[in-house]
């Protein structure tokens, strides 16, 4: 599996082929639409990450030294953003996720361009992902949702 940095680089490259913001949003929307549907059981209250305007469900699991995530949102654009986060983080070693320096938002200009992070709940998602990785690393969690299922993430 490619490293967090490698994946970020390839995202940055993908975006560089899309100079217009129209195209970039179209790409995000496509990513959102293509994301594997989230199992209904994961849409629990405990998995909700509330942005000011949209809701994200974020399922997280810890297996061995790795963390796995699944996400969904009622907004397609936020779902696209979540898809990028899944690409970057899901299946990576907890240690790496915890320490990761998230560069691709800045490098793609997404951070400046998207409405303030408070609005879309993105920062909250990232915070939860990284603090979950920290807990996983320290053996404090296995999977956070009930019932515990065999992971379906790749």
């Amino acid at each position: 599996m490619a490293s967090i940095q490698e994946i970020q680089n390839s995202i940055i490259e993908d975006f560089s082929f899309l100079p217009e913001w129209d195209e970039r949003y179209a790409y995000l929307i496509e990513l959102g639409q293509k994301m594997e549907p989230m199992p209904e059981a994961y849409r629990s209250e405990a998995n909700i990450v509330r942005g000011c305007q949209s809701t994200v469900w974020l399922h997280r699991e810890c297996q061995g030294d790795k963390v796995y995530f699944k996400a969904d949102s009622d907004s397609l654009i936020v779902k696209g953003l979540a898809a990028l986060l899944m690409q970057v983080f899901s299946g990576q070693p907890a240690e790496q996720v915890f320490q990761a320096d998230l560069t691709f938002f800045e490098e793609t200009g997404l951070n400046k361009h998207l409405s303030s992070q408070r609005t879309n709940g993105l920062m909250a998602m990232i915070e939860i992902i990284q603090s979950f990785a920290a807990k996983c690393k320290n053996g404090e969690v296995y999977a956070i949702t009930e019932p515990l299922q065999k992971s379906t993430t790749t």
Partner: protein, 407 residues
């Protein structure tokens, strides 16, 4: 119509900028309005030529600043037709004005078991302060609902008013739907029941009638930044008899007559309610905004706004799957809508890439969203500098966005 909107637009420098490579179409006026050059100039003039602390100075700059600040109070008094300058209290905005009344009126007049009424149509700023006050005073908090068109249920209001009702707070215009409430009628109803009334005029003072004596409002609150003035300045009008009977809100400089360890006495109106160094330049900028408006015939400005609003309703309702929530008997300046199957945030974001600024979300009116059964809406809101061509840009941008979202 006698007004020349193209010429008006030239007075607002920001309107000629572009966003994301597209010309700006600014339709977020209910959140905040843009400022004419004369307002910016008044602020620059203040800081460049006569910045000084006010009211107690013994020097020339202080006199100039005091005079300008107090002349601004007078301009604002005239605009809303208050009786006296001393009935005009400067606050940070509508929110602070309402908090002031909730706190000081509450302390003076609301006893355990008394009642306070607001409506389901309120902005959080005209809801939460009363909720907090009722909790502190042990009073009951009542909320009057609206019907499927966005009109207040006046019969429920009438039944809710009783001899324990101390105060009714409602907005003249809903920031979320654009509903114009029949304020005079409502105020009369409340007065007949012996209750005082606070009118949240944040969305009305710039768009419709705003004569506090004609309305017979006991309190009337609005924000400078929503009426083409600076940020950080708001106005609370209160009838002198109430303001006199209420305890001060904040303590400090300006609101003091005499201070000693044993006893502190308070200054006269309006200073009793203006603790600390005020936002000195705020009223000066706000008065410049009102002077700007006064260059025109208000009715003509508004006729133009209404014309663009009607055009907006027409054009938007032609879009497939677009549902308009603003359906009240009388409304102004605001169109709230959603498109079936589309998240408001996605639509708003894609409008932005096309240079069209609208607001999306709950607009600080969660009780309204709950009543409508939605998480949020898209809201386009007008000022007198908007044109039918802004509506055309909005409609074109929505169509493009819907295509991108697979509709």
């Amino acid at each position: 119509m006698a007004i020349n909107v193209e010429k008006i637009r030239e007075d607002f420098p920001i309107l000629s900028r572009s966003v994301n490579g597209k010309p700006l179409t600014y339709l977020d006026n209910a959140a905040t309005t843009q400022k004419p050059q004369t307002v910016i100039d008044a602020i620059v003039d203040y800081y460049t030529n006569y910045n000084s602390n006010i009211h107690r100075g013994t020097h020339h700059l202080s006199n100039l600043a005091t005079e300008a600040h107090e002349a601004a109070r007078n301009t604002i008094k005239d605009y809303i037709n208050a009786r006296h300058d001393r009935e005009i209290i400067f606050t940070r905005g509508t929110t602070e004005a309402i908090n002031l009344v909730a706190s000081s009126f509450g302390q003076a007049f609301v006893k355990p078991g008394d009642e306070v009424i607001v409506t389901e149509l309120e902005h959080h700023s005209n809801f939460v302060p009363w909720q907090m006050m009722c909790e502190r005073q042990g009073a009951n908090f009542r909320v009057v609902p609206f019907d499927e068109n966005g009109d207040l249920k006046l019969d429920v209001l009438e039944k809710s008013l009783n001899e324990r009702t101390r105060i009714l707070a409602f907005n003249h215009v809903s920031n979320s739907l654009g509903t114009v409430n029949p304020a005079k009628e409502i105020i009369k109803m409340a007065h007949d029941a012996g209750a005082a009334v606070l009118v949240d005029a944040a969305q009305s003072v710039q768009h419709i009638e705003h004569d506090v004596q004609d309305l017979d409002a006991d309190f009337y609150a609005f924000s400078g930044h929503k009426i083409y003035g600076p940020t950080g300045i708001g106005v609370l009008y209160g009838k002198e008899k109430w303001l006199d009977a209420m305890p001060p809100y904040q303590g400090g400089g300006e609101m003091i007559d005499q201070v000693s360890v044993e006893k502190t006495t308070y200054n006269k109106l309006p200073f009793k309610f203006e603790a600390g160094t005020p936002n000195i330049v705020g009223p000066i900028g706000l008065a410049a905004a009102i002077d700007y408006i006064n260059n025109f015939n208000f009715d003509e400005l508004i006729a133009h706004e209404d014309d663009v609003l009607q055009y907006g309703f027409e054009k938007l309702s032609e879009i497939d799957g677009l549902k308009i929530y603003s359906k009240a008997k009388r409304h102004t300046s605001i169109i709230a809508f959603n498109v079936e199957g589309i998240h408001h945030f996605d639509l708003g974001t894609l409008l932005d890439t096309q240079g069209v600024a609208v607001r999306t979300g709950h607009h600080c009116t969660q009780p309204i969203m709950t009543a409508l059964g939605v998480e949020g809406t898209v809201r386009a809101s007008l000022a007198f500098y908007n044109t039918k061509s802004d509506i055309d840009s909005l409609v074109a941008a929505i169509k493009k966005a819907l295509k991108m979202l697979g509709k």
